[in-house]
């Protein structure tokens, strides 16, 4: 039951992009086409799940044990950056087609604050190992949901008569804020 609550909470109620405002950079940058948005989302799901597991181990096996928990941020960044690089190398070898699809987005995730955010929230919420992984994956699914919806709207907007002053990024930002307001409707569900 607890796990289900975590999933629903991370995907809808505390959506990383639209409610917590984490990972806005790729959300705006890679959302012009649904296809690329799905690619980015898949890469984030992959990395965030793995990062949640590894940062959990790093936190409790190294940082807490040796009283250096204040190094959490830099240690997690180190872990995430190395992890993304490693994942990129492995995917390149194992599945060139997946690499073609995700390749461009993987390096972007290195600096995606949503990944770091998930890792730190896991610790703050005092989740156990399983809960951490579920939370990481669910948060990434929430990110994917938001970016894919947003990309679909932006695709539609390409052909809409938008006032010249609002074309491009301005209307994208307005759309994002409207989506954010819409997602506020989920608050109080649990």
């Amino acid at each position: 039951m607890n796990l289900i609550l975590i999933v629903v909470g991370a995907v809808l109620i505390n959506n990383f992009v639209l409610v917590k405002f984490l990972g806005i950079c790729p959300f705006l940058g890679v959302s012009k086409k649904v296809e690329t948005a799905i690619g980015m989302g898949a890469a984030v799901i992959f990395v965030m799940t793995l990062a949640s597991a590894i940062t959990y181990v790093v936190q409790y096996a190294i940082l807490e044990k040796f009283d250096i928990a204040y190094l959490q941020t830099i240690a997690f960044i180190l872990v995430i950056a190395a992890l993304v690089q490693f994942v990129e190398l492995v995917i390149k070898k194992i599945s060139p087609s997946l690499y073609q699809a995700l390749g461009v987005y993987l390096p972007l995730i290195t600096t995606n604050c949503a990944v770091l955010g998930a890792a730190i929230l896991n610790i703050q919420n005092e989740y156990n190992f399983i809960e951490s992984i579920v939370f990481g994956a669910a948060a990434a699914v929430g990110f994917t949901l938001a970016i894919v919806l947003f990309a679909a709207i932006r695709e539609r907007m390409e052909y809409s008569p938008i006032p010249k002053a609002l074309q491009g990024f301005p209307i994208a930002l307005i759309t994002a804020s409207l989506m954010s307001i819409a997602f506020m409707g989920f608050s109080g569900m649990i």
Partner: protein, 265 residues
């Protein structure tokens, strides 16, 4: 005290070392054989990532060239030496290239050309255009706020602070055309690299009008066209236009031009 410093340094450094080692190992273990030509071609490209070739940067273009999709001469910034290197790497002809350079076609600097008002906004030509189409009376006049200079990744455009003239350093210019795209007045043109004589004016105004606006304007008198022995100059809409195929850079027209709109550098 000692403990407080050494322990985190060791742990963080250790983690960095372990991850670094793992990555190094993984890089070897999961190495994918890449066409070595891609890297060699990439090294022979200018590396400015200007995008003038139509690919997303030099890496992308190098991959396309190595695959044989395009010839290396799609890059306008290639020199003949660089092309020869690419030809050597691929064993095929990399194609020839007409090297170009950008020229700012306006001679109306400083007092020569009138200004409508004193512009005090952001120092950017595109911004200045918002205010009544720029502060120059002449719609083809270089305003000199250096938008092209900012767009140039090769540091080839300079502003002479004494006269306010914006000019292109020929030795640095690769002819990528980035400046041409950003100039709101559309007065930057790319010309063959060895052309020497240019009409530094784009105005279509008639003689008297043009003269009133700018003392360095082409007044469309046609003296240069008559003087030219090679028929390289034609008059189009009150403006002298040089055909670079025919021009031999003799400079006879320069001496005839009453306003000095044509000059040779």
């Amino acid at each position: 005290m000692f403990e407080n410093i050494v322990s985190p340094v060791l742990w963080l450094g250790g983690m960095g070392l372990v991850f670094g080692g793992l990555l190094a190992y993984a890089a070897k273990k999961f190495e994918v054989a890449q066409d070595p030509k891609v890297e060699q071609v990439r090294a022979a490209l200018p590396g400015a990532n200007c995008g003038a070739c139509g690919y997303a940067g030099c890496d992308d273009m190098a991959a396309a060239v190595a695959r044989g999709e395009v010839k290396a001469n799609v890059c306008p910034s290639m020199s003949l030496e660089r092309l020869a290197v690419v030809s050597d790497i691929l064993g095929t002809d990399a194609g020839n290239i007409d090297r170009q350079k950008a020229v700012i076609m306006c001679g109306g600097v400083g007092e020569k050309s009138k200004r409508k008002f004193k512009y005090q906004g952001v120092k950017d030509c595109r911004e200045a255009m918002v205010a009544m189409q720029g502060d120059k009376v002449c719609e083809f006049g270089c305003m000199g706020y250096g938008t092209c200079k900012k767009a140039c990744v090769f540091d080839a455009i300079h502003i002479d602070h004494e006269t306010g003239r914006v000019y292109v350093d020929e030795s640095q210019c690769t002819g990528c055309g980035a400046c041409e795209k950003v100039c709101p007045k559309k007065i930057i043109k790319r010309v063959p690299i060895n052309s020497r004589v240019h009409v530094f004016c784009k105005t279509n105004r008639k003689g008297k009008e043009a003269r009133e606006v700018c003392t360095a304007a082409c007044i469309g008198c046609g003296l240069c066209a008559k003087e030219c022995k090679f028929d390289a100059i034609t008059m189009v809409d009150n403006l002298a236009v040089i055909d670079f195929e025919k021009c031999v850079n003799c400079g006879a027209c320069v001496k005839k031009c009453p306003t000095g709109a044509i000059h040779k550098d």
